[in-house]
Amino acid sequence: MLAEIGLIACLFAFVASLYAILASVYGERFAHSEAMVLSGRNAVYLTFVLMTIATGGLQIALMTEQYQLTYVWSVSSPSMPTFFRATALWGSQAGSLLFWSYLITVFAAAATFLNWKSQRRLMPYAIAYMMAVAAFFIGLSLFIENPFERWWVLPSGEVVASAFIPAGAVAPAARQLAESANGLNPLLRHFGMAIHPPMLYLGFIGFVIPFAFAMSALASGDLSSNWIKVSRRWTLVAWLFLSLGLLLGGRWAYDVLGWGGYWGWDPVENAAFLPWLIGTAYLHSVMIQEKRGMLKTWNMFLVIGTFSTVIFATFATRSGLVDSVHSFARSGIGFPMFLFWFLLTIVSVWLILWRRSRGELKDEHRVSGIFSRESLFVLNNFVFVALFVAVFWGSFGAPIVSELFMNTNITLGADYFLRVTPPLFILMYILMGIAPVSAWGISAVGRLGVSLLIPLALTVLSLGLFVLGGMTDAGALLGYGIVLLSGWVVVYETFRGVQARRKARNESPLRALAALATRSPRRYGGYMVHLGIAVIGLGVIGSTLFQQETQRTLAVGQSLQIGGYEMRYDGLLANQVAEDGRLMDIAQIVLLRDGAEVAHLRPRRDFFPESSGMNSMTIAGAHSTLENDFYVLLVNWETVSANSATFKVYINPLINLIWWGSFILIAGTLLAGYPRETLPARVREKLQLAREGART
C-alpha cells in the first residue's frame, strides 16, 4: 500500500513540477495571465506536498519494516534500532535520491513563499528553473532509481524487483524477507552519519535558489540588484549547511574511520569542497556589486558556476566516475545526470553572454588603487577560483583528460594537493588580514599599515606564547603568524567599533557589542566567520605539521609514553553485546599525565555478525584538550587470553580548534544572514523602484 501511494505521489509530483514550469513561463511571457502565473506558483506548493507524501511513505515503510520494498530490504534489518531505521532513508542511492528531490521541493516552496511578494517580477522564471531541477531529479527516482520497487515471486519461482505487480506474481513470505534483509552499512551507523548527509544535501541543494534567481534575472531582463539581494541570503543559507556538512564529514571520518585524520583529499570530499570554494568567492564579490555596481558578469558566472559544480559533483559521486570510499555503486543515472549538467551549464553561459553582448551587464565603476577594497576582493576571488581550478584539476581534470586524450589513467594523490593548495591558502589568510581594514575606492598604503600595527603587535605577542610552549619551527611560526594576524585583525576591528560606541554613547562594552551586531550584522557576522576560519587554520596547521604517532603491543598493566602522556592497558572486555546486535571488544585504557589519571579511554572494535560485506569497524578512544587530542586505536589483541593488545596512538596538536572554530563560523554565518539588515541607500532606492515597476 505504502509503495503504491509513494509511487503515485511521486508521479503526480513529476507532472505538477512540469506544469509549474509551463504555467509560469507561458503565463508570464506569452499569455500575460496573472491567474496562470498564480496557478504555476500553486503547483510549486503542490509538488512540495506530493513529495512530502512520497518521502514520508518511504520513511514510514522503513520505520514499519516493509521488507517487500527492495530499498527497505537493502538498508535495514529487524535488529536495527529505530534511530538508524529513520536515517536509512539516505543510506543508499535510491532513497537518498528521493530525499534529495524532496529537499529541492522544500527549498523551492520556501523560496516561493518568502520571496513571492518582494520579487514578483523574478518569481515566474525562478520557479521555472527551480522546478526544472526538481522535475529532473524526481524523474530519476521514477524512471531509473525507483525507491518503491518491491520483491515479487513469479509463477516460475523466480524473484524479481519491480515497481508494478508482474502478471501472476505474489509477494515473498514476510519472514523470509526479514531474515535475509541486509541492514545498514555499519560504517553509516554513527551519529555523525545521521546528520552529515542531510547537511551536505541541504548545502548542495540550497544553491538551486540563487541559481534560479540569477537565471531568472537573465531571462527576464531584470538585472537590477534585486536578484543579488535574494540570492545572497539564500547563498548564505546553502553555504552554512555546506560548511556544516563538510565539518561533520571531517568529524565523522576522525571518529569512525580510524586513521587519525579528518581530510584526505579524496575526490568525493573534494567534490563537496568545490562548490564551497566558488560559493565563498561569490559571497565576497557580491558585496562589490552591491556597493559599487561592479563585477556583474563575473558574479553571474560565480553563482551559476556554483550550482553547475553542485550538479557535476553529484554526477561524479553518484555515477561511479571516480574511485573513492564514498562513491555510490555504479548505476544508470550517470548519463542522464551528465546530460542535465551539460545542458544546464550551456544554457546558463549562453544567457550570460547574450545579456552581456546587449550591454546589460555593464559595470558602474572600475577598480582603482591596488590596495583599495575592490582590488583586494578581486584578489580574493582570484584565490578562491584558483583553488577551485587546482582542486578540480587534481580530482577530476587530470583523470578525465588522461583517459580521454592520453589513453592512460592518471590520478593525482594527496601529494599534489599538499603541494598546490598551501600557497593559495596562505594568500587567502594574508588577504583576510589586510582586506577588513582597507577602504573602498582608493586606499593609501600608509593608512593601511597603521591600522595593522596593533593586530601585528598582538600577533607577535601570541607567537611569543607559541615559542615559550616549545615551538621552534620557523616555517610553522610564519604560518601561525599569518593565520593569527587574520584573526587579530577582526577581533581588533570589533574592539575599535565597541570603543567608538562606548565613547559616543557611554554604553557598557557588552551592550555596545550587541548594538554593533544588530546594526551591522553582515559586517560583524563576516568578522566572526573570519575569526572561525582563523581558529580552524590554527588547528589545521597544528594537526597537519606536528602529528605524532606510534604503535606498541602492551601486556595487561604495561604502559607506553608519548607526547607527555602515559597510557596504561588494564585489560580487554571481549564480546560485549550492544543493543543493535553488534559485538564489541573493548580495551580499557587509563591515561595519565605527570603521574595523575586524566581519563579512562575505551577504544574498541565492533563486529556486526549479521552484515555481509563491511561488517566491522574500529572506534577510537580519544582524550581532548585545547592543547591536543590523545587518540588511540585498538588494532590487534589475543582473543582468548586477552593478555596483550596492540595499539596505534596519535597525538594531534590543536585539532580541537577545528571543531571550536566551526562553532564560531556557524554563529557568524547565522549573524550575517540574520534577516534584519540595513541596506545601503542605493540598494533601497533601487528596490523601491523595482517594486513600483512591478506594480505598474
Binding site: 582570484f382 593525482l412 593559495l424 555481509s612 560485506g613 590487534n636
Partner: protein, 176 residues
C-alpha cells in the same frame, strides 16, 4: 576562462589616465596566474600516478620502481596480518579497470586460476575492516625487484550485495 571575465571589463573600461594602474593590474594578474599555473604543473608532474592493471604492471618493465596505482580483487585466503608489527600481506588477482558489475568481476577474478596474481606487502598500517575476500583493493606503491608490490596506501571497496542481488533465502524457499 573564468579569470578573463573580470579582467576584461576593468581593462576595457579604464580610461587613459588610469593607464599606469591598468598596467600594474595586468602585470600583477599575469604574475599570479603564472604562479598558479606553475604550481599546478609541477604538482601534476610530482604527484601523477598511473592507474594501471596488475597485468600491465607485471608485463611492462617501464613501471618497475615507479609509483603507480593498481586495482585488484583480494583473495581472502591469502591475507596474513601481523598485528604486533602492523604488517599486512595478501594476494590480489587482476581485474580490468572498467567494469559494469564490480561484484561479479571480483568474484570471477578471484576464482579464475589463470588470472595474474600479485603479492602485496604493506607496513605500518592497521588492517582495514574492509580488507576481505573479494573486495576491490586500490593500491598505491611500487613493484619491488622480488615481484612483490610494496604499497603505501590502500583503499578498499566492497561492492556488497546491497544493490545488485535478490533475497537469496526467499528465492530458495519459494523455489522448493
Amino acid at each position: 576562462m573564468a579569470e578573463m571575465s573580470w579582467e576584461k571589463p576593468t581593462a576595457s573600461t579604464a580610461p587613459k589616465s588610469f593607464g599606469g594602474e591598468r598596467i600594474k593590474f595586468v602585470v600583477g594578474g599575469l604574475l599570479l596566474l603564472g604562479a598558479v599555473v606553475y604550481l599546478m604543473i609541477s604538482g601534476t608532474i610530482g604527484g601523477a600516478q598511473y592507474f594501471i592493471t596488475v597485468d600491465q604492471l607485471v608485463t611492462s618493465p617501464e613501471y618497475a620502481g615507479q609509483t603507480v596505482r593498481i586495482s585488484g580483487a583480494v583473495d581472502g585466503d591469502t591475507i596474513v596480518y601481523d598485528g604486533e608489527n602492523l604488517i599486512i600481506d595478501f594476494t590480489i588477482a587482476n581485474i580490468p579497470l572498467e567494469t559494469t558489475d564490480l561484484a561479479l568481476t571480483l568474484h570471477n577474478a578471484v576464482n579464475d586460476p589463470s588470472a595474474t596474481r600479485l603479492n602485496v606487502h604493506i607496513e605500518g598500517e592497521v588492517k582495514p575492516d574492509l580488507l576481505q575476500h573479494e573486495a576491490q583493493a586500490i593500491l598505491t606503491g611500487t613493484l619491488g625487484a622480488d615481484g612483490t608490490f610494496n604499497a603505501t596506501e590502500l583503499l578498499l571497496k566492497c561492492p556488497s550485495r546491497y544493490e545488485e542481488s535478490i533475497p537469496e533465502q526467499a528465492n530458495a524457499e519459494t523455489g522448493v
